[in-house]
Amino acid sequence: MTIATADDRAIGTSLRVVVTDAALLDVAKAAVDRVVREIDESCSRFREDSELSRLHASAGREVPVSPLLLTALRAALRGARLSGGAVDPTVGTAVKTVGYVEDFASVAREGAAIPLVVRPVPGWQRIVLNEVTCSVVVPEGVEVDLGSTAKALASDLAARAALEAMGGAGVAGAGVLVSLGGDIAVAGEPPPDGWQIQVADSSDAPISADGETIAIQSGGVATSSTTVRRWKRGDVVLHHIIDPATGLPAQGPWRTVTVVAGDCLDANIAATAAIVRGASAPEWLRHIGLPARLVTHDGAVTRVAGWPEPRPA
């Protein structure tokens, strides 16, 4: 087994592909690139030519959509339902209103004060998804943002596509890890000690001996954090995780939440929901049985539902 890694950037964030057979890295990376490109073409709210942008341009009408966009919308609506509405894809207008109007690399980190109005988002129930005709109706005035779930879905789909391109799970020892902006999915045979995943506020943190690290065999890991995609307008610090109940950045005790789940998508849904749910999140995560690590704004760490405790130094 020869571990090999490829690093890149895609859809405005970091991309890492790790395989357990170095000879298969190129074919795995090509498969990942294809999936990520297709997700971008379907789901980006920043591209005028994306399928999602065309859907918005046809607001109020039933619009046929591709199987991939249908899958992404289905995933978003399922996430909304299973999170009790804490992760809602109809936050598009709200996230733009607070200043996240373009690819984050282009968002000014500081700027003049802006009006901030507490206004609930339209609500995920207003999106009508027809599985039979593979079509969708987005009402006028509703703007969909798939950013929360589409990136995690892309990691899951890319890991599966890479494994298939590598010859499938039948290839002895074949395993792959895909990290898209810190949303991590693994597929196939893991390394002997599992996939070692360091957890941090930022996915750009250097891998270090001091970093808290867990080992997973399958599934996915995702982190939601208010510390990375943040900016100031006037003297108010804003971030990209919108609380659907207020239409404003979530105001809870947690700055970062990391979750392990059966796949990256579910880990992402739970992590984002935990930021939004605030103080009740640990109880909720215990109830649904997802191992999680929650970090308060002052750095205190809470581990729940089987998240491993660090070994004593």
Binding site: A113, A205, G234
Partner: protein, 112 residues
């Protein structure tokens, strides 16, 4: 998820706390700056009907068709998504173990 049911006291308290949190944040942030701040008179908890007087278009939720992610419609061409119909968030097949610091293959953190 139901619509039209009244807020529970717990939901109402949570919503009001969020409003208070934001008032505090903006009050602090607007010292020396001009920040327009308005509050919609009523608050909607996602998945529940708006309280009376809400200006949010969520008032029309009850008339909308509910999305069905368990439909048996033809999605044969859609990418494989094993959890698409799952009724709960899926727990990992194996619990995570404590790892070996320094040997990490990737970092899970907020995305840049």
């Amino acid at each position: 998820m139901s619509t039209g049911e009244p807020l529970t006291p717990r939901d109402r308290d949570a919503a009001l706390q969020k409003l208070r949190d934001w008032r505090t944040t903006i009050a602090i942030g607007s010292a020396g700056a001009v920040v327009a701040f308005g509050v919609v008179a009523a608050v909607t908890i996602p998945g529940k009907a708006s309280a009376a007087g809400a200006t949010d278009s969520g008032d029309t939720q009850q008339s909308q068709q509910q999305p069905s992610d368990t439909s048996q419609g033809d999605t044969s061409q859609a990418p494989a998504d094993p959890n698409s119909g799952a009724s709960t968030l899926q727990a990992p097949q194996q619990m995570p173990a404590f790892g070996f610091g320094g040997g990490g293959r990737a970092v899970s953190g907020g995305s840049h």
